[in-house]
Subunit: 195 residues, 2 copies
DNA sequence: AGTTTTACCGTAACCTCGTTACGTAACCTA
DNA sequence: TAGGTTACGTAACGAGGTTACGGTAAAACT
């Protein structure tokens, strides 16, 4: 048998960690295959063997981002009120985007021309979390309508507002941004509220 | 005096038209400086002289897109009811995105790592259109609140829903997509409605 | 008309990055 | 210790953004 393999799952994980660090510090433009390889102490072909191609790296970043988001949203303190729970969900989503702007850009904008996550498998669990919270609110008779529809609209608004805030498009002062974010969330929930 | 200039404003316009065509047919990946030059019957340095760099091309596409969107939203038939006007605005925005998916991607996602339109000058007029419609609704006592805030939230939701629809993330059947889009718009307006 | 000047133009190159062919070397076995 | 098998990294290729540079057309002057 030949020499021992170095292009293993361990390298894959190390390279992914490095790729996330590069993305956070250098931005999408700095995320090159050579940079990922160098940071992982590996050769470029090694990175290609573990990830397939560059889109594979982006895909893993994408999945890692949704796993982290899912963890953070799951770890949110439970609210006694279903509507408060939805507001907390929105705020948790917002904080994730603000703390990980580059990662959020990869997840919710598409800075890389290749790689569309058509079968939106990555975000499925996050979507489930939103739907479950909405379902709770519907069951508690605080909201009215189809939970899947409501959750989709709610998540779309929250994502849009959070991304707008992260890219400085939501206003100037901290207070006006806060106000607008909460206004959007509260108003939509009010519209969905049971008469 | 030397020979007559060819790298003029006329070339700039011709190249921009070609760039928009390339974007619409080949997508963001096909939009290379060489392709733009070739389509305009010009050399690559000629394109650089008129646009500065590739970000300059993207920037012009960006502006052209917002001009077109502005024109379409301005040309929308006037509604007798202020709320119907806002619904029509949302539908007009939606149709623009559906008819120009690649252009919308450049305008509202960020497929190009360089070039952030930080001073969102391009979208200023579109934003004004939204704000004016909201102001009309507030003046007509159909909505309550600060028009700028309402318009920002409203546009964020409409943009998010339209982009989600364009990227097949809003559902499967035409009917469910239609239903969700209208649900989102109507519910938010309901939330903003005067008691 | 011929020459000179001027500045405009496109060819061809440079650099980075995604991607991969290929020669080299490590490890096991006999 | 020789051979075979296979993993590894160097170095190259092609595409795309960007630009140096020399050729050349047109005006101006004699």
């Amino acid at each position: 048998m030949p020499r021992v393999k170095q292009r293993t799952e361990a390298l894959r994980e190390r390279a992914l960690t490095g790729a996330l660090a590069i993305l956070a510090t250098e931005g999408a433009a700095g995320l090159t295959t050579r940079a990922v390889a160098g940071r992982a102490g590996a050769s470029v072909p090694a990175v290609y063997e573990v990830f397939g191609d560059k889109a594979g790296i982006v895909r893993e970043i994408f999945f890692a981002g949704f796993r982290q988001l899912e963890d953070e949203l799951t770890a949110l303190p439970a609210a006694d009120d279903a509507l408060a729970g939805l507001r907390g969900l929105a705020e948790g989503f917002r904080q994730f985007v603000l703390r990980n702007p580059m990662l959020a850009e990869v997840m919710f904008a598409r800075p890389f021309a290749d790689f569309d996550p058509m079968p939106d498998e990555a975000g499925a669990k996050v979507r489930t979390i939103f739907t479950q919270h909405v379902r709770d609110a519907v069951d508690a008779r605080r909201l009215r309508g189809d939970p899947a529809d409501i959750a989709l609209v709610f998540r779309t608004l929250v994502e849009g507002l959070a991304m707008a805030e992260a890219t400085q498009r939501l206003g100037g002062s901290r207070q006006s941004v806060d106000r607008r974010f909460r206004l959007g969330v509260n108003t939509l929930l009010k519209g969905f509220a049971r008469a």
